[in-house]
C-alpha cells in the first residue's frame, strides 16, 4: 500500500481547485456510531472487532474492492502509521490509541473511513482548493450508501450521537487548510483569529487539535455541529473564508508594494538555505518552504510550481522521508538526509 502511495501525490496536495494558491485543501468529516454498541471508550475488544468486521463487510458490498485499502492500524508498524498521519489520512488519535482499529482508504486518497477512532466511524473526504459543497456531495453520497447497510445511532432530538457532545447533531466538521504567510508577517493574523472566534470558527495547526501552526499553515473549522443543517455549516465557512483570502491577498500586495526588498530577502534566504543546508529539521524546513511557496505565488521564485512545493512539504516530513529512502533513520540522520533531498530537488531554482 505505502509503496503505491509513494508514487502518487495526495489528491488534496495537487495544487488545483479554487484559490489553491492560498487554500491548500478543504475537508469534511462526519462522526457516526453504530447502534447496539457502546461508544469506543466503553467498547470491549470483541465489540471493536465486530465493528471493524461490520464496516469491512459493508465496504465490500458498496465499494469496488480494488478501489480501497483496508488497513488494520493496531498491527501496522509505527512508521507506516506516521506516514498515513502525515498524509492527513488518519488522525493522531487513531495512531496513538490502543485496541482494534482500522482505516479504509480510497486509493485516490479522496476519502477515508477511520474505524474505532473517537467514534465508531469517522468518514472524511478532502480535496485540493476551496470547494466544500463538492466535498459534501461526495461525502453525503458515501454516508447514504453506508447508512443503507449500517444502523447508525440517531436520536430524535439530538441527531447523530457522538462519543463527545461537541460533535453531536450533524457530526460534521468542515475544515479548510490555509497558507497565510503574508498575514503572519504583517501580524494581521491575530485580528483574523479574533473575528473567527466571533462566528464560532476554530483555528488549529497543521495536524488538527492542539497542534501548533507551522509553515504558516492554519486549519479553520466550524466549532458547532448542532442546530444547523450541513449546508448551513458549510455556508458559514463559505462566507468567511473568502474574506480571509482577500486579507491575505491584500497583505501580499502590501508586502510587494511597500516591503519588496524585505520580501525578496526572505524568499531568497529561504531558497539559499534550503538549497545549501547540510542538515535541517522538519519544522525549519516547513518554515522556509512557506517562504518558497509565497515566492512562487508572487512570481519572485521561478522554475518550480506550487504543486512541486506542496510535494516538498509532504516528502520532507519524517515518515515520508524515511519511506522514500527505504530505511529507518535516527533524527540526526533524518536531518542530514532531508537536507540532501532538498538540495537534489531544488536544483532547478
Amino acid at each position: 500500500m505505502i509503496d503505491e502511495m509513494l508514487s502518487q501525490l495526495s489528491q488534496w496536495l495537487q495544487g488545483e481547485g479554487l484559490e489553491s494558491e492560498i487554500v491548500i485543501s478543504c475537508r469534511i468529516r462526519l462522526a457516526r456510531n453504530l447502534s447496539g454498541y457502546p461508544f469506543v471508550t466503553r467498547a470491549t475488544e470483541t465489540d471493536r472487532r465486530s465493528i471493524r468486521d461490520i464496516v469491512y463487510r459493508v465496504a465490500n458490498e458498496i465499494f469496488e474492492q480494488s478501489s480501497f485499502y483496508f488497513v488494520d492500524i493496531d498491527t501496522l508498524p509505527t512508521l507506516d502509521r506516521m506516514y498515513l498521519l502525515e498524509r492527513q489520512l488518519i488522525s493522531r488519535e487513531l495512531v496513538e490509541s490502543v485496541g482494534i482499529r482500522a482505516a479504509l482508504i480510497d486509493k485516490n486518497e479522496s476519502f477515508c473511513i477511520m474505524i474505532n477512532e473517537e467514534d465508531h466511524l469517522r468518514i472524511h473526504a478532502t480535496t485540493s482548493g476551496f470547494e466544500p459543497m463538492r466535498i459534501w456531495q461526495i461525502l453525503n453520497e458515501i454516508d447514504d450508501k453506508l447508512s443503507k447497510s449500517l444502523s447508525y445511532s440517531f436520536h430524535p432530538k439530538l441527531g447523530y450521537l457522538s462519543a463527545c457532545p461537541t460533535n453531536v447533531g450533524t457530526g460534521m466538521r468542515v475544515s479548510v487548510m490555509l497558507h497565510l504567510p503574508a498575514l503572519a508577517v504583517t501580524k494581521e493574523i491575530e485580528k483574523v483569529f479574533r473575528s473567527l472566534k466571533k462566528v464560532h470558527l476554530a483555528v488549529r495547526g497543521l495536524y488538527g487539535e492542539n497542534s501548533q501552526p507551522v509553515g504558516d499553515l492554519y486549519q479553520i473549522s466550524n466549532q458547532i455541529t448542532l442546530g444547523k443543517t450541513e449546508p448551513e455549516l458549510i455556508k458559514t465557512l463559505q462566507n468567511f473564508v473568502p474574506q480571509i483570502l482577500t486579507f491575505e491577498k491584500q497583505s501580499r500586495d502590501f508586502l510587494m508594494r511597500e516591503q519588496r526588498e524585505i520580501l525578496l530577502d526572505r524568499c531568497s534566504r529561504a531558497v539559499g538555505l534550503l538549497k545549501t543546508a547540510r542538515t535541517i529539521g522538519s519544522v525549519e524546513t516547513l518554515h522556509h518552504l512557506s517562504s518558497l511557496r509565497l515566492g512562487v505565488h508572487l512570481g519572485i521564485i521561478e522554475n518550480i510550481t506550487i504543486d512541486e512545493v506542496n510535494r516538498l512539504f509532504l516528502n520532507t516530513q519524517p515518515a515520508h522521508l524515511q519511506k522514500i529512502l527505504g530505511e529507518q533513520l535516527s533524527q540526526n540522520n533524518r536531518d542530514v538526509e532531508r537536507a540532501k533531498y532538498l538540495r537534489s530537488n531544488l536544483g532547478s531554482i
Binding site: Y37, L161, K228, T229, E230
Partner: protein
C-alpha cells in the same frame, strides 16, 4: 474542546461579562475550580458575581465553591445502567460511554450542549430508516456488556444464552 490550560477536555465553559467585552474561558474541572477560586478572591463581592453566563445550569455557576463539591459529587455518582459509565468518568475523560448517556445524563448534558452549540435540536440530515429501535439498541449494549462479564467469569452457559439473545435482537 480542550481546556485552555491543559490537554484535558474542557467541561466548564465560562463567559466573563465584567470587562468591556465578554471573555470566553474553557476549562477542565481542576482549572475551572482554580479559576473560580481566583475570581472569588479577586472579587469585592460574592463569589458568583461576574459569572453570568457559565454553563447554564452548572452548579459551578450557581453556587459558591463550598457547595460545589458536594453537589458535583452527587452528580458524579450517577451511573448509566446500560454502559456502566459514571458522570464522573465522563467529566474526566470527556467521552460518553453509550447512546443512552444522552438521556441518562440529560439534565447535566442539555445545558452543556446548548452552551457549546447555541442550540439543542438537530435540524440536519437523517438516516433514511432507523434500523434498530432505541430500546433494542440499549438492550444489545447491555447484553454485550453482560456477555463480556460472563466470559471473564468463565460462565460459558450464561455466555451462550446471552449470545442467543443478542442474535435474536440483531435479526
Amino acid at each position: 474542546m480542550k481546556c485552555q490550560k491543559c490537554n484535558k477536555p474542557a467541561m466548564f465553559h465560562i463567559t466573563e461579562l465584567t470587562g468591556d467585552k465578554p471573555e470566553e474561558h474553557h476549562f477542565c474541572e481542576l482549572h475551572a475550580k482554580e479559576y473560580l477560586n481566583e475570581t472569588s478572591q479577586n472579587s469585592d463581592t460574592e463569589s458568583s458575581d461576574g459569572l453570568t453566563a457559565a454553563l447554564a445550569d452548572s452548579p459551578v455557576q450557581k453556587n459558591p465553591m463550598t457547595k460545589v463539591s458536594a453537589e458535583l459529587q452527587a452528580i458524579d455518582r450517577q451511573v448509566c445502567p446500560v454502559c456502566g459509565i459514571s458522570f464522573y468518568d465522563f467529566r474526566n475523560r470527556g467521552r460518553l460511554g453509550c447512546a443512552n448517556d444522552y438521556d441518562c445524563f440529560a439534565k447535566q448534558l442539555e445545558p452543556l450542549i446548548t452552551n457549546i452549540h447555541g442550540a439543542s435540536e438537530h435540524v440536519g440530515k437523517k438516516p433514511s430508516e432507523i434500523k434498530l429501535q432505541l430500546n433494542d439498541s440499549m438492550k444489545l449494549i447491555k447484553l454485550r456488556r453482560d456477555l463480556d462479564t460472563a466470559i471473564n467469569e468463565e460462565d460459558y452457559k450464561k455466555a451462550s444464552k446471552i449470545r442467543d439473545e443478542i442474535k435474536k435482537l440483531e435479526n
